[in-house]
Amino acid sequence: MTAPVSEEMNCKMFVELVTDLIEGRLVASVRLEAEAHLDDCHGCTAYLQQMRHTIAGLRALAVSEDFPRTRERAIAVFAELRGGSSAD
């Protein structure tokens, strides 16, 4: 995905580079091309924004999840099968 591109950057190519761009994994020459493309292209600018919102939305999905039932059970099983020394 990060191979330097010989043709001029277009939108179809940009959408395949966007993850590497966000991850900071593009080689410098391709990153500069991608940034130059963004300067001229509203569609790809909106696309990059949408991708960032998608990542934020996914992150928000999982926060505040708590699974107390498995936690207590695991600790009880540990105490039963191996317990003995407690470090408090």
Partner: protein, 216 residues
């Protein structure tokens, strides 16, 4: 996060082997949520995911004496979970609505991030440029927090091939770094990025449809 701390890892393994309950509780606090989330990438319900996590901890408790340190402790635990979750997921597959949606290439290397019809063809005025460009989403933060948007995201995640779902779960939902996700899932750097790219692209496409319908 699943911080790799190789220096204390030996001490932690020793503590677990001698039955140090506080050390085990701390490990559970760190990993229980991520493990449950990852289990949910394979099985259809929270109840089944919790069973998988319970069996995983049991495997850790029973297996810690045989842990050889060939991978990190956390990688070893994630691999136990994935083995149980994948097996259990196959058994439960009939219950999943998306079982028929298997892709030809499970890693999705040949899948475009965006429908090719969104771009101008080779005979267009600007080949490879947007024919129907994406537009800015209105009030994205508020709208992404709604129940409807959450359902869209969860629906898109449910349709992903399993490896893509695993990577997306760790990277984007749990906020793991690329390296942490690679270690947990035992993936190469390239595969990790390809899987993440395909998975995110599909969730974005689903959200784009949702925003377009809402604005239409």
């Amino acid at each position: 996060m699943a911080g790799a701390r190789p220096s204390d890892e030996g001490a932690l393994v020793e503590a677990l082997r001698r039955g140090d309950e506080a050390a085990f509780a701390q490990l559970v606090d760190e990993l229980n949520g991520p493990l449950t989330r990852l289990a949910l990438a394979h099985v259809p319900s929270r109840a089944v995911a919790e069973d998988v996590v319970g069996d995983t901890w049991l495997g850790v408790i029973r297996g810690i004496d045989d842990f050889e340190g060939r991978s990190s402790l956390r990688t070893w635990i994630f691999q136990i979970l994935l083995n149980i979750a994948r097996t259990r997921g196959k058994r439960e597959k009939r219950a999943l609505p998306f079982s028929s949606l298997r892709r030809r290439d499970p890693e999705g290397r040949d899948e475009p991030a965006v429908e090719p019809s969104r771009f101008e063809g080779p005979r267009g005025e600007y080949p490879g440029h947007w024919a129907r460009p994406p537009v800015e989403w209105q009030a994205p933060e508020e709208r992404l927090a709604t129940e409807a948007a959450r359902d869209v995201m969860l629906g898109a995640i449910a349709k992903l091939p399993e490896r893509q779902r695993e990577v997306l779960t760790l990277r984007d939902m749990l906020g793991y770094s690329a390296e942490e996700a690679r270690n947990a899932l035992d993936l190469s750097e390239t595969n990790q990025r390809v899987l993440l790219h395909r998975a995110r692209s599909k969730v974005r496409a689903a959200l784009e449809r949702y925003f377009e319908e809402a604005e239409a």
